[in-house]
Symmetry: C2
Subunit: 345 residues, 2 copies
């Protein structure tokens, strides 16, 4: 993995040729740009400012489900399908594997596992396998694990998605484990959210029901050749009858067997249907505005936090923590006092 | 549940009699204080400032484990045990149920379920049952569920613990589900962390191994009369041989059957052993200093977030989000500009 940051001077002074390289589809430039953003390496902020105006063209699809639901395999199949489909809006000049202009959809995959590093190894292994298997520059795959506890993962995923978007990927698939709050934050930035269930995980499905109802635009019942698929479908239908969505969309249920490709075309069709619905009802922009309202506040919080941390340099944090730990100083008043003195830089 | 805030004037002007009421063990005052802090009701910040100097006496024990590991039952048993044990340091004047001075350990329980509201109903039900069952003012139980996505749950749990501590509870048991990042943040504030495993959950144990090794001061194998208890013990021992703790402590493994009380005395003894070790090695303060270093930064972040939100009043956030969503404005530069103008209030 390339973890070195981009040279800041180059970002600032040679930005045009650099952006051109990214937008031409150069995979090494893309990989370096993503590493820079993911690791907050020098120049990451300038990089995002420069690429942002070139983003906004990609269709961002979030896919989430419990461990073992077959997310990776389904994402794999969906990526293949898009790679074999001509993009009617393509104006791409670069050549594909066979030397002909690659006018098919290009795909970026971001695989996020907030439970890493605990299970990160396995997922990373999956990804390396996929990477080797495809050997197709039209599919770019990136795995991401947990970064600290300050809610940084959703933010970083959003930033990486912006880079992939600006690089000209037509479709971005964001794959994340489970349906906890972290996952909700991550899939919230997608235009379209797919929730993957499997038969025979009774209690787990029960547990995440309420969360699923809120975020799913499309349900997939994967491994639908297993016993219990009908029951899962009935349960989803029952829940849908209890809680109608504000936007009037009823999430369809697609049955798949990702391991042999069954139902993958139907899933792509359901995604296209929902996309058409978003366009028709002018909901796509509305959804993005809502997302940006939350993201702007979170971004501002992060910038403010950086300013806050800067208040604590030269061992001041340790000394203050000692005073609080010895109950000599009340932390609530202390923090207010520090906040009042954060410099406007 | 009492969700009304404390009257701010009363907090500010009559603070001494109010603190006296809290410290005398009055359960209604305690319940109102916790509600005020949990709901960030008016006066919450003043309340925490006022109670903080009276905190720091309680022993805070965090207990975590997968759903179904029997956490509630074990916490229940441990609470009973402490309630039947005389606290040699007690200077308590108030009378217990039988009219005699209650010189036994008093207990506060904070039950946290970050997966709520999805499963919150069941846990709350458990708690209500426990509350009825005990009918002992010497045990105070509070359930808490998820509050938003900005990492507020660990912070709120810490604040509620401070209130319980200041109210004079000798032992505070914090019970939380699973071992994700949220749970790590929550149990991190405990002086002593107990990780509860059960036989027959093979894959789940594997998944959370790395996280467990880092946070456990004591392991409990609950439902240890089930098949597979020996295997779980061997796995823990094998992991311990791979990763020694920096502080030289080897977390003991206690086998329990919480439903009939087996092993609960041994668990209390293991907790006392670790506490003695912390004291002997002067590690208790060191641990609290480390915790406060992180908490101070997080508290400062929260204060800064409030300032950040205040920048976005009067519909400005929606207008800016629209400009960003239409790609007319780069959010990264925008956020920096706003941050530079945050007022020092």
């Amino acid at each position: 993995m390339d973890t070195a940051g981009l040279n800041t001077d180059r970002v600032n002074h040679d930005i045009r040729s650099w952006i051109d390289s990214l937008r031409s589809g150069d995979v090494r430039t893309l990989a370096r740009a993503i590493s820079t953003v993911e690791n907050r390496a020098p120049g990451w902020s300038e990089l995002l400012k420069a690429v942002f105006p070139h983003s906004g063209r990609a269709r961002v699809i979030g896919l989430t489900g419990a461990p073992g639901a077959g997310k990776s395999t389904l994402v794999d199949q969906l990526a293949r399908l898009y790679r074999n489909t001509r993009n009617p809006h393509s104006s791409r000049k670069e050549r594909g594997l066979n030397g002909a202009p690659d006018e098919n959809y290009t795909v970026g995959i971001v695989a996020v596992d907030p439970t890493s590093p605990y299970t990160g190894g396995a997922i990373l292994g999956d990804r390396i396998r996929m990477q080797e298997h495809f050997a197709d520059p039209g599919i770019y795959i990136r795995s991401m694990a947990t970064r600290g506890s300050l809610g940084g993962l959703a933010r970083t995923t959003a930033d990486v998605t912006t880079v992939l978007d600006a690089s000209g990927r037509d479709i971005i698939l964001i794959e994340t484990v489970g349906v906890g709050q972290d996952e909700v934050d991550i899939v919230r930035l997608a235009d379209i959210t797919v929730v993957i269930l499997v038969p025979g995980m009774g209690d787990d499905v029960q547990t995440i029901k309420a969360g699923i109802m809120e975020i799913a635009d499309i349900f997939v019942i994967n491994k639908s050749d297993r016993e219990g698929a009908e029951r899962v479908e009935r349960e989803i239908r029952a829940l849908q009858s209890l809680a109608l969505r504000h936007d009037g969309w009823t999430p369809p249920i697609v049955k798949t067997v990702a391991s042999d490709g069954t139902g993958v075309e139907e899933l792509a069709a359901a995604i296209a249907d929902y996309e058409a619905y978003l366009q028709k009802e002018n909901l796509a922009l509305k959804k993005r505005v809502e997302n940006w309202q939350e993201r702007l506040v979170e971004m501002l919080r992060d910038v403010m936090l950086e300013k806050a941390r800067a208040q604590f340099k030269d061992g001041a944090l340790t000394r203050l923590a000692e005073e609080v730990a010895e109950y000599k100083r009340d932390p609530y008043t202390l923090v207010e006092e520090i906040a009042a003195h954060v410099k406007n830089t």
